[in-house]
């Protein structure tokens, strides 16, 4: 039986960039015990001799011709931006003050 503690879930939530309340972390950790038990069944038949399938189509490196095609104007590209400045996306600071 696999289980995820409240702290495990908190670490995953951090990796996934989702703030979570303590109540949410606890209830998710309880749910994951049940869910992980159910999904772990895949291990019963996934032998070393079975190859993995990541995709239904046998595709590899699909390229398009290197030609210029019409694209969005800056105004269109910025039309949904939460904040913009000088025809650019304005974002919160990424690096610290140092």
């Amino acid at each position: 039986m696999t289980s995820l503690s409240r702290d495990d879930v908190a670490k995953l939530a951090g990796l996934a960039r989702i703030e979570m309340s303590d109540e949410e972390l606890v209830s998710l950790s309880n749910e994951f015990t049940v869910i992980l038990d159910a999904v772990a069944r895949v291990q019963e038949v996934a032998g070393a001799d079975v190859v993995a399938t990541s995709h239904p189509l046998p595709l590899r490196n699909v390229f398009r011709p290197d030609v210029v095609i019409p694209s969005l104007s800056p105004a269109e590209a910025l039309s949904g931006a939460p904040a913009q400045e000088e025809q650019r996306f304005r974002v919160p600071q990424i690096l610290g003050e140092e």
Partner: protein, 498 residues
């Protein structure tokens, strides 16, 4: 008029008996009358629909050659971008977003002169089987407003059953077209993966997602299928091959000499009595129509659900990383000095609903170092085994069949606190997505014990989508002659309905 099939509407438009403006207005009136109770739509584009309709009428008047479905209205699942029209995917994180471009499906609909009425409700980012995960409230099943309309495409299916639209677009990652079709007594088709472009379909699980047609008849689904399908260079997973001749197949509806394989594992225990009864009856009708019924076994299907709930969350944890509060959508906590990371964390906390968070976290875990092989890697191997089961089964049969879902529509709220019970709805539909083949659900009657619709599922090999239309049309005709009228003619009337 709104109770006609899309094909009948198209004929009336072609003969001049009705205009597209009048037809579109009739559907807008029906939406005004019943959608406060059904809640199939998240956005109704009254002005845009009427102007698209007027443009089709003008072209027809000038003698221009139009496509078969020109002027017929349609409801679009809110997971598809349409330029300038709000696209939320049922999520708060995209509230108010108006995409600056059309999805290829929408481009194809517009090329065909199909009138887009508005955007339909769905489980947030298509994660769910009931539309209860929509951030904008659930859709209600027109057969019984206290019940779910299926999901994630419950809005599209409910719009058809409530005569708010004769055609709709859905997307199917694990059954989101077929399961809503089954529980609303409508027709839904998941084409072969790669058959319809995913460009502009907001991604949930890219190796499983597939857009497809929803309608009230098999022929209508085929006409819409041909209108939206085909190779698209904008989607690197689009199949560069001719679209299967689905309209020809739906018109002929011929199953003589076809071998129909009943999947042993997708029946029996866990399937409601009325679901099994309707399934057996449909098999008898197909046999009487000249098909040979054989039994096939797919021993690895019992692992499909477990594999799906690793693969889909894994892909979604990666796909939904794009909702980062930087370029579009919601942004929360952007105060002086707040870091990009804290803005992202706060935005995603507020913007995503419970099920989306659950799946992102599960996917993050399944892909994390140390657990990757045990979870995501094993699930990929199961995917191989399921595909092999299908390949073997298709050596014995031209198509495979099963009930679409184990039960009829359940009550709103009944399963919201039990994710695993909710996931079981998709037990018979998921294998199709894992292998990338085609699947259809059409109504096979109502269950004796509750009077609610039951779906019959047909599965066809890669790019042999025409086969499921042959079988679907044959069964539909046999059931129609048995019932004397379409199943939806027996749906209880909604208040204000025309």
């Amino acid at each position: 008029m709104i109770r006609n099939s899309a094909s009948e509407m198209a004929s009336k438009l072609a003969s001049g008996e009705v205009t597209s403006v009048a037809l579109t207005q009739a559907h807008l009136d029906q939406i005004s009358a019943v959608d406060k109770d059904v809640h199939a739509f998240l956005h109704v584009d009254t002005e845009g629909a009427l102007s698209q309709a007027a443009a089709v009428d003008a072209k027809r008047k000038s003698g221009e050659k139009l496509s078969r479905l020109a002027g017929v209205p349609l409801a679009l699942k809110d997971v598809m971008t349409q330029k300038g029209i709000p696209t939320t995917c049922g999520s708060k994180i995209l509230e108010g977003w108006r995409p600056p471009y059309d999805s290829t499906v929408v481009t194809n609909l517009k090329k065909n002169g199909i009138v887009i009425l508005g955007k339909t409700n769905m489980d947030e980012f298509a994660m769910g089987s009931s539309t209860e995960n929509s951030a904008y409230g659930p859709t209600h099943n027109p057969w019984d407003l206290t019940r779910i309309p299926g999901g994630s495409g419950g809005g599209s299916a409910a719009a058809l059953a409530a005569f708010e639209a004769p055609l709709a677009i859905g997307t199917d990652t694990g059954g989101s077209i077929r399961q809503p079709a089954a529980v609303t007594g409508t027709v839904g088709v998941k084409p072969t993966y790669g058959g319809v472009s995913r460009y502009g379909l907001v991604a949930f699980s890219s190796s499983l997602d597939q857009a497809g047609p929803c309608a009230r008849t098999v022929l209508d689904a085929a006409l819409l299928h041909e209108a939206i399908a085909g190779y698209d260079p904008k989607d690197s997973t689009s199949i560069n091959a001719p679209v299967p001749a689905v309209v020809v197949a739906a018109k002929a509806g011929n199953v003589k000499g076809m071998k129909i394989g009943v999947v042993k594992e997708l029946n029996g225990d866990g399937y409601q009595k009325g679901v099994r009864t309707r399934f057996e009856e449909s098999l008898e009708l197909l046999a009487a129509a000249g098909a040979e019924i054989v039994e096939v076994s797919a021993p690895n299907f019992e692992y499909a659900l477990a594999a799906y709930y690793l693969i889909a969350p894994s892909e979604c944890s990666s796909n939904l990383a794009r909702f980062d509060a930087m370029r579009y959508g919601l942004r929360v906590g952007d105060n002086d000095g707040a870091s990009a990371e804290s803005v992202m964390n706060l935005t995603r906390e507020v913007g995503f609903g419970r099920e989306v968070k659950r799946r992102i976290i599960l996917g993050t875990y399944a892909l994390s170092s140390g657990y990757y092989d045990a979870y995501y890697g094993s699930a990929q191997k199961v995917r191989t085994l399921i595909t092999q089961d299908f390949n073997k089964a298709f050596e014995k049969a031209d198509v495979l069949v099963s009930p679409t879902c184990p039960t009829t529509a359940f009550k709103i709220g009944e399963k919201t606190n039990d994710p695993l019970a909710m996931y079981l709805n998709d037990i018979a539909t998921i294998p199709v997505n894992m292998a990338g083949i085609g699947g259809m659900s059409l109504p096979s009657g109502v269950a004796g014990e509750d009077g609610l619709p039951v779906g019959f599922q047909i599965m066809s090999p890669v790019m042999k989508d025409d086969r499921m239309y042959s079988v679907g049309a044959s069964l539909e005709a046999a059931l129609l002659s048995k019932w004397g009228a379409p199943l939806l003619s027996t749906i209880p009337a909604l208040a204000g309905s025309k």
